[in-house]
Amino acid sequence: MNKTVSACALALFAVFLVASVLMLRPFGEPEETTMDDYIIGNAQNETGANNAVTSVVFDYRGFDTLGEATVLFTAVAGVLLVLRRYAHE
């Protein structure tokens, strides 16, 4: 009985996802690109980098990279803490 309830929930969720994806805009035609056009046009003047993706990651959105570095540091600290008893010789 438990498995049939799970299978019905999964089927319902699958129908919902497929229906909502088919109603999206067509692939390859983004609608509002004002911010990205500004970044592509001005990334070489303001940051001096040829790579627009790296200038977005480290300069325009550097705060998100700070949060990601914190998550990576917390995960490494958590792994070394959980397995501390066997990590010595």
């Binding site: 070489q44 003047n45 303001e46 940051t47 001096g48 980098a49 040829n50 790579n51 993706v53 790296t54 200038s55 990651v57 480290f58 300069d59 550097g62 705060f63 990279t65 700070l66 570095a69 990576l72 540091f73 995960a75 490494v76 792994v79 070394l80 397995l83 066997y86 990590a87 010789e89």
Partner: protein, 156 residues
């Protein structure tokens, strides 16, 4: 635990080439696709290749995970202090782009062959994040491999 002589030799030969490629991807992050995270993952996979060839007991005799932890903290503190250096204008201000300092040229607009001297604070941030990712990923894999080997001797 450790593998045969052929595997040990081949992994020792392949390790410096993969490391050079990974350091190239880290340093040229502002010119070609790549950057700190991608290049750090490549160098960490070179170190894991050496770990798989020699066995976790040999590597754990030479490198303690405390040293890797110190290296990772140096990378993280370097990243935050580079962000705090331009605090007079704002947090994360790129004060080296356009000035007559170490990384200060502005490239001409449009397609150009890349120049390593450009892009301000970005190569320094790439190097700090690269050191952090190398130390973090290698510490995770080394501790997991060593603990799995040590737990294999106790039958529950």
């Amino acid at each position: 635990m450790s593998e045969s002589k052929i595997i040990k030799t081949i992994s020792s030969i392949a390790f410096p080439f993969v490391m050079i490629y990974g350091l190239y991807v880290i340093l040229h992050g502002h010119l070609t696709p790549g950057g700190g995270f991608q290049g750090g993952a490549i160098v960490a996979s070179a170190c894991v290749l050496l770990l798989a060839g020699y066995g976790s007991r040999e590597i754990a005799k030479r490198i303690k995970e405390g040293q890797l932890s110190v290296l990772e903290s140096i990378g993280a503190l370097g990243f935050v202090s580079l962000a705090l250096l331009g605090i007079s204008t704002t947090f994360f201000y790129n004060f080296l782009a356009g000035s007559h300092s170490i990384f200060g040229r502005i490239p001409p607009f449009g397609s150009n062959p890349g120049d390593l001297n450009t892009a301000g604070l970005l190569p320094l941030m790439n190097i700090s994040v690269g050191i952090k990712v190398i130390a973090g990923l290698f510490a995770i894999v080394m501790v997991l491999a060593f603990v799995t080997w040590k737990m294999g001797g106790r039958k529950q």
